[in-house]
Symmetry: C2
Subunit: 183 residues, 2 copies
C-alpha cells in the first residue's frame, strides 16, 4: 500500500485498480483488506487522509504517504524476505496420480499448460505495451523485472508439462482397482 502511495496520493479504489493492473501477476488485494489497512496506516501516521469531492461519483478519500510512511517503506524494502509458501493442488493430484487413469492425469496437466500459455501471451502483450507507453518512466525497469519473472516461470512450467505428459505416456496404465473395491 505504501509502495503505491509513494508513486502518488490515491484512494483505496485507485490502489485496487493499480494492483490489478500491475502486480496481479504475483499479488492480489481485496477491498476487505485495503480499507482496513488504510485506516490503520492513518492511525499510525504513515499516511494522511484527505476528503476529495471533486470527481464524479461518490465522495472519495485520498491518501498521501507521509515522511514517516516513506521511512517505513524503505525499512520494509530492506527487511529479510521469506520465500513464498505455495500450495500447488495440481502437484498434489499428480503425486497421487496412480489412483486414476492416465487420461485423467493428462487432462489436469493439459489444462494447467493452457493456463500457463494464456499467462505467457498476456505477459508478452503487457511487456510490449509498457515499453511503448512509458519508455522514459524511471520505474519501468523494475516493473519489467517482475514481469520477466512471470515469463520465465511460466515458460519453465510449460516445458515441465510437456516432459511430464511424455513421461506419463511411457508409464504403464495403473490397474483399475482404485475406484473399484479394495486397494
Amino acid at each position: 500500500m505504501l509502495g503505491f502511495l509513494s508513486y502518488s496520493p490515491m484512494s483505496g479504489y485507485d490502489i485496487k485498480k493499480m494492483v490489478e493492473a500491475s502486480i496481479d501477476n504475483f499479488w492480489k488485494e481485496s477491498f476487505g483488506q485495503i480499507y482496513p489497512i488504510l485506516k490503520k496506516l492513518d492511525e499510525q501516521g504513515l499516511v494522511e487522509k484527505t476528503a476529495d469531492a471533486t470527481s464524479g461519483g461518490r465522495a472519495r478519500n485520498v491518501y498521501a504517504i507521509t515522511d514517516k510512511g516513506r521511512e517505513a517503506l524503505s525499512r520494509w524494502l530492506g527487511e529479510e524476505t521469506e520465500p513464498p509458501r505455495i500450495r500447488h493442488e495440481l502437484l498434489l493430484k499428480l503425486f497421487f496420480g496412480r489412483r486414476v487413469d492416465h487420461a485423467t492425469v493428462r487432462r489436469q496437466i493439459q489444462a494447467y499448460r493452457e493456463h500457463l500459455e494464456r499467462d505467457l501471451a498476456h505477459y508478452g502483450e503487457i511487456y510490449e505495451q509498457l515499453i511503448a507507453d512509458c519508455p522514459d518512466e524511471p520505474e519501468l525497469p523494475y516493473w519489467l523485472m517482475t514481469l520477466r519473472y512471470g515469463q520465465r516461470e511460466r515458460a519453465a512450467m510449460i516445458e515441465w508439462c510437456d516432459e511430464t505428459i511424455e513421461t506419463l505416456e511411457s508409464l504403464p496404465e495403473p490397474e483399475a482397482k482404485a475406484t473399484v473395491g479394495r486397494g
Copy 2:
C-alpha cells in the same frame, strides 16, 4: 489426507511426517488442520478410526480409508484444478525497488538465489535417494514428476536472479530522496 491413507492406514502424526517427507516441496499441513479434518472425514464415513495401543509412547488412533473414501479421492483427482495463487513478497519489493539503493535490492535477490540453490541441492539428493531406495515402487514415477517440477522451477528462478542482478547493475542508482524528505 485421503491420498496418504490410500497408501496404508496411519495416524494423524504419521500423515504429518509423510507430508514433510514427500510433498513438503509444494504442500504443508499443520496438526491444527490434520486432526480436525480426520475427525470430519470419519463423520462422513470416508475413513475408519481404530484405537491402536501397541506401539511405544501414547495411545494412537489409526485411520483407514473406506471404499467411500476411495471414491471421493478419485472423484477429487478428476476435478478441475485452480492454478495456485501466490503472493511473492520478493517481487513486491523488487517492484518498488527504486525506493532504495541497488545494494539493498541486490541483497534481496541474492538471498533468494541462495535459498533456491539450497532447494535445488536438496531435491537432487532426494531424487537420487528415492531411486536408490525404492526402485520397484510403482508410485515412484509420480513422486519424481512432482520433484522435477520443483527442480525445473528453481533452476529457472536462479537464471532469473542472475539476469535480474545483471539488469540492476546496468541501471543508474536512484537518487537518494526516498529516505530523506519529500519525494
